[in-house]
Symmetry: none
Subunit: 194 residues, 4 copies
DNA sequence: AATGAATGAGGATTCATTCAT
DNA sequence: GATGAATGAATCCTCATTCAT
């Protein structure tokens, strides 16, 4: 009885192992062998399923982006009203799922990968556009014409938060990061309603 | 007449070549040989003067940080008043000298290097602290107790600006980045004086 | 049918090639590549199976020591009486298997390796102790209290024989070496029974 | 005023440094740079005076052999009678000057060098012949026809003593080594006069 | 599906040696 | 006489990738 559906399981294991390994090393300089071993298989099998190292990285990236996207969507579904929706996006960005040491390290490295891999850049640009669009749309009713500028600032604050946290030694502190960004949002809303 | 000081010349050439090479590749995955060749010497000489690859990277990092620091100091010297001083720091951060494709790529990679190299992290942390202190100090007379929070946000916006620009294909647009950050600053000042 | 045990075969081939190469060069200054080539494989595979150059050397050393030990044990098994046992050890030390140009060169180089490698020294010290113990034990019934002194002299004569032979250009002459050492033994026995 | 006779001083310094360096490393694998630095000069100058690395080694070897030879000659000059002369040679061989950790290591490495360098082998063979001749000649009046056989054994015991000492961790114990060899000599004389 | 075996290519690093000054 | 500068050549080692089984 050949075990059915081994492939998706293997791929998922590899993706997870990749993120863990990058997070641990803080670099893309991790060997396929190590990733495969952590995922409980031979490096040959990893190649079999993914084709090559970069493909493994891209799959890991896609996974991170997907998880983040799902988190945002989930938060949006429960949010009521424009402000709540914007705040939900911010909170989702610093949720315990995404704002973890290893995932932060992975993000940072994906930005680096995007410098040399067109495919990686494409993924990251899509993510950026979607985030920007979500924020812009949610902010329109709140700050009118400034919506996209504010959206841009919020996005930059989020990215900046990640970057700064990447240097921190302690556990990632999502709450403080959220407070900072929402503080800025409050300021903008204050002014808009003044 | 003994040939004077080949060493500082060589070191400077290597540092420059390193930044260029990292900028071009978008990675730290550049060979010492390529760097040396670009700097017009053998890789053996590069090792002779620096000891090893990481030392070369650290020297390049120190250089970038030093240039940036000088730029900030220069701008501060010409600024009159607290607000002007804060704005000067922001402008210096996006000056044409520092906010160039290759330097941005270098910064990004230095953040990655800091994940695995204690020496690199130390350098980056020092830079962060100094920036934060400068901003905090300049903002005190302007926003009082919120000074350090605002400073933190400005710093995050600057970092975020770099990160976002690293994905941009066109030439780096420092002016727009400055406008965004200063827009936020204006908002804070407005509220403080309200 | 999975191809069985390439590893032991490869390792054995490498060990053999290492001894041959050291014997030919008269130095530990042989490259892993040359060893691997002589063993019919890539240097990468040699590293894969052994980890590094020193590990290859240590394995070769262990092999030489093991072969010698087996030879001694075999000779002892056939020897009848104390004197015969001591003589068997001496003869085994200069057997055609061990007292060959390339093996002698290897021995010499292992002594050198032991100067800088703790692992190598350990191996050599163990071999020395065992030899000394064997001789001492065998000599006790023959020369009583002088046993260990005589054992020490015999061991020194054996080592000296190797060292002197390492300079000889002709084929190794085990018989003469044996005669010298046994001549000394006879002398001691003569005196003991006088 | 150009300093006269700098050359012999420099050469002597290099020779001394070479022996020290080999002794410390336990290998011929020492760099010319380190030797030169220890001797207080640039590696370029070392090459200037000696031509190349092997020449430096050969000079160091010649020095060790010369010092040893002088020691033997000095001891012989003071010895009265055949037995005293033979004993003098043995004692000189284990004198504090020659039987020191670093010199022992150098000797061992010279044997290795002799495997690949004809010049080194020549030096070592000459030393061996002279030692053998000296012993043989001194022993003739004492043991007659057995002289050269006994000489050979004594020489082997001396070499063996060096080899065994090279593995010892403590300070070299020349006295014990001398005792062992002279014990053997006494045995031969006893028999000869029986 | 899965893996051990195997390698080519490449890269950091070291070092003896040369040379201009 | 003396040295800093400079490099070509070599070597160890790693790793992504392929392939037969």
């Amino acid at each position: 009885m050949p075990r059915v559906g081994a492939e998706p399981i293997r791929r998922a294991a590899l993706v997870k192992a990749t993120i863990a390994e990058i997070g641990e090393a803080g670099t893309l300089d991790v060997t396929v062998s190590r990733i495969a071993k952590r995922a409980g298989m031979s490096s040959a099998l990893a190649h079999h399923y993914f084709g090559g190292k970069e493909d493994i990285f891209l799959a890991a990236m896609r996974h991170v982006l997907t998880v983040y996207g799902a988190e945002v969507r989930g938060a949006l579904a429960m949010a009521d009203g424009s402000r709540a929706r914007v705040e939900a996006i911010v909170r989702a960005s610093f949720s315990d799922t995404s704002f973890r040491r290893e995932v932060i390290a992975a993000w940072l490295n994906f930005y680096v990968l995007a410098q040399s891999s067109a495919a990686a850049r494409r993924l990251l640009v899509i993510y950026q556009r979607r985030l920007q669009a979500n924020l812009c749309h949610g902010l329109r009713p709140l700050v009118g014409d400034r919506a996209c500028i504010v959206a841009n600032n919020i996005a930059a604050l989020i990215d900046g938060g990640y970057l700064r946290q990447s240097l921190g030694q302690g556990a990632a502190d999502g709450q403080t990061a959220v407070d900072h960004v929402l503080g800025y949002l409050a300021l903008e809303l204050e002014r808009a309603t003044a």
